[in-house]
């Protein structure tokens, strides 16, 4: 697929993923048996853009963002962040990891219970040898993350904070390093629904004030609607639909996106399509379109009526353009 068909909203590409494959087990070879967690992904994310990467557990979305900071080595393909190639060179990786900061799902697990909030934020500054007054940098970061007055938090321990405050600490620790992109893995899934909005608003505010990009991994399409400029839907290691949030969520082209959308309680007027079973084992990839064994279009006989069923079962679809900047990988 050409980069033009993918249509990044601006030419200022920040994260560029080309033909990325990540495999686990079985010698990580291309043969059978290996778990093909990420199985050929092309993706570009622009500076200041928020992308939601959605899909079920096991679709490879977390592996993909981990590979962006070298936590999962690529078997094939390449990834560059802000002009820096993801390599295995420790020095280069450190430079890259300062610019691309991870935010994890469970803030309680991500914070050391014996370290104060000050230490939690200062640790990154020390690792990356950031110049300047440590206390000033830490208090400024805490204040910008809505922990005010910051002095009140410096000597506290994680257990003295609420879940939402802990996630703010982690966001502050990430932003203290002045990154160009936040890689957020289900950033609000472990929080009460009532406070998710506040955390999402905080993350979105850094896009406006710092020009940071965000790649947010989530299974929550409501989150995508709330903060994302574009949505990428992943299934079994591939992006199966990609486009502007309004387009993908208002006019989904892939049957998998339609099914995901239909089970979100906040969607009105779509008949529920509950897919049976769970994501298949990525070490035994179905032939043809990888979604065909669960695809409602195939199961209902519609694919047969349209004369595309043989292709669904035998031919792996590629992303094709549906409208400006909106692509989907489906024979429909």
């Amino acid at each position: 697929m050409s980069p033009d068909a993918q249509g990044p909203p601006t030419t200022d590409t920040l994260v560029s993923v080309r033909g990325a494959h990540v495999r686990f087990g079985a010698g990580r070879g291309a043969g059978t048996g290996a778990v093909r967690a990420v199985d050929g992904v092309d993706l570009e994310v622009a500076r200041g853009e928020v992308l939601a990467l959605v899909g079920e557990s096991g679709c490879g979305k977390t592996t993909l963002i981990r590979s962006m900071i070298g936590l999962e080595p690529l078997a094939e393909g390449s990834i560059a962040v802000d002009g820096l190639e993801v390599t295995r060179n420790a020095r280069e990786l450190r430079a890259l990891r300062r610019r691309a900061q991870m935010i994890f799902q469970d803030p309680t697990g991500a914070l050391n219970p014996r370290h104060t909030i000050f230490e939690a934020v200062a640790e990154g500054l020390r690792i990356h040898r950031v110049d300047g007054d440590e206390t000033e940098l830490v208090t400024a970061a805490l204040a910008s993350a809505g922990l005010r007055p910051p002095e009140r938090y410096l000597r506290r321990f994680p257990h003295e904070l609420s879940g939402g405050q802990r996630q703010r600490v982690l966001i502050a620790a990430a932003m203290a390093l002045d990154p160009v992109v936040l890689l957020a893995d289900e950033p609000v899934a472990s929080l009460d629904a009532s406070i998710r909005g506040e955390i999402l608003a905080l993350m979105r505010s850094y896009v406006d004030t710092h020009g940071v990009s965000i790649i947010a991994v989530t299974h929550d399409l409501g989150l995508a609607w709330n903060i994302a400029d574009r949505v990428a839907v992943m299934y079994l290691g591939r992006i199966v639909e990609l486009g502007p949030t309004e387009e993908v969520l208002a006019d989904p082209q892939h049957p998998y996106t339609r099914a995901l959308l239909s089970v979100v309680p906040e969607t009105r007027g779509l008949e529920q399509q509950i897919l049976q079973g769970e994501t298949p084992d990525p070490s035994r990839m179905p032939a043809g379109c990888r979604f065909h064994p669960r695809c409602p279009v195939v199961a209902s006989g519609e694919a047969a009526r349209l004369g595309i069923e043989a292709r669904c079962r035998g031919e792996d679809p590629v992303l094709t353009q549906r409208s400006a900047g909106h692509t989907a990988a489906c024979h429909l």
Binding site: G222, N226, I227
Partner: protein, 323 residues
Amino acid sequence: MSILELRDLSVTYRTEGGDVPAVRGVNLTIEAGDTVGLAGESGCGKSTIAGAVLRLLPAGTRVDGQVLLDGEDVYQMNPGRLRAVRWTSAAIVFQGALHSLNPVHRVGAQIAEAIRVHGSVDGRAAATRVGELLEQVGIPASRASRYPHQLSGGQRQRVLIALALACEPKLLIADEPTTALDVMVQAQVLDLLASLQRDHGLAMLFITHDLSVLTHACRRLAVMYAGRIVETGLGVDVFRDPQHPYSRALAGAFPTIGDPSSRLRPSGLAGDPPDPSALPTGCPFHPRCTVAVDACRTTDVQLRPVGSASSEASAACVHVEPR
């Protein structure tokens, strides 16, 4: 007769740091076959209510008021009677399926145990019943010989539901049954619970912080804050037309996909739930309330009927006109 009736239920945990009032005067009735959702943030007391119904709270916890299960006061039962009503009258499905199942026993054996403890059936009859229960929740009977770690998260949650159904209870209490699950698996489990409710006339008390899930799964809703119910009503009404500012904030936390007003505008509730051992004066919600007035600092308005006489709505807010 109601399958469950909570009369002025209060629960106070005794801790080293002093008494913590987790539930403060809750009245709630569930009729046979009805589905009631209990919504609220962490620490609002909703799970404490689940534990209080079957006397599963830590020893020494003070419980006031009454819990009537099928008309019988749970706190007046002797241990034998209590053991009998657990599982047979009411059963609970907890959130963490991995932690609720014993990791070193096959799932079939764990279900069979519940059946044998509560009925005089032989091993063969129990095994047949285990197969039936698993099939009922959409798991092949052959999986009975699996250990919990060999099943996926969704399957484990289904096993817990099968376990809860083992003794054909009239009331199923589900405490965050879908919280740890993926969207699609969550939809599968909700669908399963709805069909069980329909086919078996099961009454359900469904507890979660996710108001949007409750609206679909429950006919009636009760919203809890700081140990009290602050709004009750029909599920759709509470979600679409909330009366209490707190319910409004909870409902607002779920954007309607496609609705331009929530596009790129995440909405949430500022601040954190109050510490139950140091509740604010007056209405406990007033420090976070965007429409609080002076009176809210001193007056704690009780739950009172609102809206038209035909509605089942009640709310506890000074701004809501009583009926």
